[in-house]
């Protein structure tokens, strides 16, 4: 690197750091409690995807949000003399968004951990849960330690995830929804599920799922608490007073009984769980994790593209030369796969298809991305085929070439050259779209970055590392395509204007 470029890079980095610094604005002045009173409303954040019984849409009236947390918050708000107003936030972002001041408090199965205590204030517990390990009914496993070397499912950023990471030989598999881990346990895609007993009781350990058993004794015990911003001690006291009063006059027990959540554990809340409170550094181990995640991204992209190209070719040929029925089928395929989100297609392939045919996460990811991109490639090749002058086909026909020979020897080689720039485009775009497959538990580069960001308590370093890796993958690919293009272009001069 020359001195000049080094200087430019350094300046760009300074700019990035400066911009990142700007985003950490402090919340508006005045204590949150005073604002709540003035507003007459307490805004609390939860994620409806957390599902029943926490905070979820009423199946009888989806405009209505219900759950035991809704009932508890209604009671607290009443005791504070204000209205309760729930706002939807992605669960993984509850704490960062709270810190940013997007809402007053976060309340959604937030476990009291030492790590969280470092960042935000925690209220007194409103629920005592147990971490429960579920395995298949025919499994000989009796404790977490026997799952060494196996895949164990849990939700991202939960206390259960912290527990799994304390046993390095276990491979944690991260999910966003409550139901999927147990379905994948039944499908043999994972060998155990470690989650809170509320989730375990409803989604795995009950008579509806005879192929799953939940092990006794429970792995750990913890509490759900309300998250409050660091400087809102006043609000913390108000909430704690309200919760203590609800405990004393039996309202909390009444609510938990109504939701069938009351048990002996509620009488004996454990202390805040000790978890590692210091963020990880970007060390050699993490660098290696990034490199292997980049390997997964590259493998996914290459395999999916290798699938997309032949699919696209067949579809394009079917559309251009197939006539009514064949061309119509090709068009239907293209409209279906191009007109629906690839995320949906991945869900259907991985979870929707599972009861009939269980695909591995990598297979489903390659298949999903390949089928989807095949539709885009088809239109690229169709455009390229149509751009070749008619005289080429006529010359080939006059020479006695059959339609297949004309296609193979005359039209396809020429359309490849025309298709190469848009194909390169699609390839780079696929490289980035491959991050979507984290929804079916594949840990690729972007997912690795979000995990690292949580571990390191910051987005900047993992973000830059992630960006550098994507560029390191995409740049050589576009360079390769450029060279190929130049080799194919017999007359590389652009047309004069």
């Amino acid at each position: 690197m020359t001195q000049d470029t080094a200087r430019v890079v350094r300046r760009a980095l300074v700019l990035v750091v400066a911009l990142a610094g700007c985003s950490g604005d402090a919340p508006a002045t005045g204590t949150t409690l005073a604002q709540i009173r003035a507003r007459g409303e307490i805004q609390w954040a939860a994620d409806l995807q957390g599902g029943e019984p926490y905070t979820y849409e009423d199946p009888a009236d989806p405009t209505h949000v219900i759950g035991f947390e809704v009932d508890i918050m209604d009671a607290i708000a009443r005791r504070l003399g204000v209205r309760s107003h729930m706002v939807q936030y992605n669960w993984s972002n509850l704490v960062p968004s709270l810190e940013r001041g997007d809402f007053d408090i976060a309340m959604n199965g937030l476990e009291a951990t030492g790590e969280r205590q470092q960042r935000i204030l925690l209220s007194q517990p409103y629920f005592v849960y147990a971490e429960v390990l579920a395995v298949r009914a025919d499994s000989p496993v009796r404790s977490l330690f026997e799952l060494s070397g196996k895949r164990v499912a849990t939700l991202n950023q939960t206390f259960a995830h912290d527990i799994l990471r304390m046993i390095p030989s276990i491979e944690p598999v991260l999910y966003e929804g409550n139901d999927e881990p147990y379905r994948d346990l039944e499908q043999h895609r994972v060998d155990g599920v470690l989650l809170d007993n509320i989730i375990a009781d409803r989604y795995g350990c009950n008579s509806k799922h005879p192929r799953i058993k939940c092990l006794q004794p429970e792995v750990a015990r913890g509490t759900y608490v309300i998250g409050i911003r660091k400087n809102d001690g006043e609000l913390q006291h108000a909430l704690d007073d309200a919760l203590a009063a609800m405990r004393a006059d039996g309202e909390l027990e009444k609510i938990l009984r109504k939701w069938n959540l009351w048990d002996a554990r509620q009488l004996d809340a454990p202390p805040v769980a000790a978890t590692e409170t210091r963020g990880r550094d970007f060390d050699g181990g993490m660098l290696w994790q990034f490199v292997s995640a980049a390997g997964v991204t590259l493998e996914l992209t290459l395999l999916a593209f290798l699938l997309a190209v032949p699919i696209g070719l067949v579809l394009a040929i079917a559309r251009v030369y197939g006539g009514g029925i064949v061309g119509g089928c090709a068009r239907a395929y293209i409209e279906l796969f191009r007109g629906t989100p690839v995320l949906l297609q991945l869900f259907v392939l991985y979870y929707g298809l599972a009861p009939y045919y269980s695909l591995g996460p990598m297979t489903a990811a390659v298949l999903g991305l390949g089928l989807n991109y095949g539709a885009y490639e088809a239109e690229v090749y169709r455009g390229a085929l149509l751009a070749i002058p008619r005289g080429q086909t006529e010359a080939a026909q006059a020479l006695g070439l059959s339609p297949a020979q004309t296609l193979w020897h005359v039209l396809l080689p020429q359309s490849l050259r025309l298709a190469l720039p848009p194909m390169t485009n699609d390839f780079v775009s696929l490289l980035k779209d491959s991050s979507l497959v984290s929804v079916i538990t594949v840990i690729e580069l972007t997912k690795r970055m979000t995990i690292a960001a949580v571990d390191m308590r910051g987005w900047l370093v993992p973000g830059i590392a992630c960006a550098v890796m994507y560029l390191a993958l995409s740049f050589p690919l576009s360079e390769l395509a450029r060279r190929l293009e130049r080799r194919l272009a017999r007359d590389p001069r652009p047309q004069a204007l």
Partner: protein, 248 residues
């Protein structure tokens, strides 16, 4: 060699060819002339079935074509026996001159590469391009491209060669080299039909001249007769205009 009976073709309401009857003997060279839009190119393209027709029948190189003919083995045989040279050359831009010529022999007739290349080099020498075998079309002048196209058509060992305005897309100084090649071919006794606007060329090479106008053969006879003493008004008018443009 060629027999055309009651050949008709329409584009919607427009009649392009109307009940055309024609015969060509082996070794004849026919110059096809006439005003633009008269149906010259269409007739030529019907002869090797690049274009379908609506009524009538064609027998060419012992192969019978009718309006109902589908794409089958017979058609492939027809294309093997009838070569075509286009106004825009239509060389394959991704192949060298040599590969343009050997493609059909290798792919259609399954001739070995070495044999096909030996023959292709002979043909290139014959059209005066022995040293340009490795050139891509964009590296050749228009006249050179058209000569490669002629060599490509000859590589099929056709019994009939069709030329669709072979010099119209060329600058005047390149026409001579192409016309020279066609002239030499005529001398070898190849059966040829040439659509052209070059009157001198037509009278030099043709055994007969057809004047085609509004979908019919208006005049058919030896060049000396047809060009010097046209019987129809349309032919007189056409030749007068051609001479006018030549003298300019």
């Amino acid at each position: 060699m060629i027999r055309v009976r009651k050949l008709s073709k329409r584009h919607g309401a427009t009649v392009v060819l109307r009940d055309v009857d024609a015969d060509v003997e082996r070794g004849e060279t026919i110059a096809i002339v006439g005003p633009s839009g008269g149906g010259k190119s269409t007739l030529l393209r019907c002869l090797n079935f690049l274009e379908r027709f609506d009524e009538g029948e064609i027998e060419i190189a012992r192969i019978k074509l009718a309006a109902t003919t589908r794409y089958e083995g017979e058609l492939l045989q027809l294309r093997a026996r009838v070569g075509m040279v286009f106004q825009q050359f239509n060389l394959f831009p991704h192949l060298t001159a040599l590969d343009n010529i050997t493609l059909a022999p290798r792919v259609v007739r399954r001739i070995e590469r070495s044999a096909a290349e030996r023959r292709a080099r002979e043909l290139l020498a014959r059209v005066g391009l022995a040293d340009r075998a490795g050139a891509y079309p964009h590296e050749l002048s228009g006249g050179q491209q058209q000569r490669v196209a002629i060599a490509r058509a000859l590589a099929q060992d056709p019994e009939v060669l069709l030329f669709d305005e072979p010099t119209s897309a060329l600058d005047p100084e390149m026409r001579d080299e192409v016309m020279g090649v066609i002239r030499d071919l005529a001398a070898t006794g190849m059966t040829m039909l040439v659509v052209t606007h070059e009157m001198q060329f037509a009278s030099d090479i043709a055994s007969r001249v057809w004047v085609i106008d509004r979908g019919t053969i208006a005049e058919d006879g030896a060049p000396a007769t047809v060009i010097a003493e046209p019987k129809t008004e349309v032919a007189r008018e056409y030749f007068r205009r051609q001479r006018g443009s030549m003298s300019r």
